[in-house]
């Protein structure tokens, strides 16, 4: 399977990066993506993996924003000591 590298791939001046190394890293990246986004059994192109990776990172950033807002509301509305106790209890058990 040809791996046409995206145009802006930069080569390190210190070492020649082989296609095989890139493919290896791309498949490791594919393994980190959730199954809903990209099936791990498929051999997809590097470009597709990168695209899904970008989409996934953007959605994670949005989730952090969203959860921050919700936590902000929640903390404002609950009594602090019981909230703290509940959080710690649930995370440790």
């Amino acid at each position: 399977m040809s791996s046409r590298r995206p145009r802006s791939w930069q080569s390190s001046s210190a070492s020649r990066i082989t296609d095989e190394q890139i493919n290896d890293l791309v498949s490791k990246l594919q393994a980190v993506l959730p199954e809903a986004r990209i099936r791990r059994s498929d051999r997809v192109s590097a470009a597709k993996v990168l695209q899904e990776t970008c989409n996934y990172i953007r959605s994670l950033h949005r989730e952090v924003d969203d959860l921050s807002e919700r936590l902000s509301e929640l903390l404002a509305s609950t009594e602090s000591s019981s909230a703290q106790a509940a959080i710690i209890r649930s995370l440790l058990m």
Binding site: L25, T53, H61, L67, E73, A83, A86, I87
Partner: protein, 158 residues
């Protein structure tokens, strides 16, 4: 090519009580409780901004300087904390992830590797190999942080 494998500690980093996860959780929780008790900035927007910053800070501190992305994130956080009264017109400090500084027109021809470089902290100064490695680690850490925040949400909601 150096490989920063996760078996520096013998434990599986996916286990619930991996040291880095505990560090992340304790840092985030301490920050959260501190924010809750703050009375000076009690605006909703201010609080959620602080929580968001605490999320990225706990990610970066739990990994420290072991990774390029976490070092870059730590630099951004430290440069921002030196500005007590940031001037919104001159945003010279680096923006935290997730907040685009400028509205860019969508470029469909934009290379995916370039797009990735902008999403991963420190990405613009990495070569291909490093970018891919760092991205995988960044995603793992980011999703752990998200799960942590979700767990906190659930525990307080009852």
């Amino acid at each position: 090519m150096e490989s920063k494998s996760s078996d520096e500690n013998c434990n599986n980093p996916n286990s619930e009580l991996h040291p880095s996860k505990l560090i992340m959780a304790s840092h985030f929780l301490r920050a959260l409780f501190r924010i809750q008790h703050t009375t000076t900035d009690s605006s909703f927007a201010g609080r959620s901004r602080k929580i968001r910053r605490a999320a990225y800070a706990s990610m970066a501190y739990s990994v420290g300087t072991k990774r390029a992305w976490s070092s870059a994130l730590l630099r951004k956080l430290r440069s921002r904390s030196r500005l007590r009264f940031p001037n919104p017109r001159r945003a010279k400090y680096a923006a935290l992830p997730g907040r685009p500084r400028v509205a860019r027109p969508q470029q469909r021809e934009m290379d995916q590797a370039e797009a990735l470089r902008e999403l991963v902290p420190g990405g613009t100064s990495m070569d291909d190999c490093r970018l891919l490695e760092e991205t995988a680690d960044y995603i793992r850490c980011l999703s752990t942080q998200v799960r942590l925040m979700q767990a906190i949400m659930e525990s307080v909601s009852f």
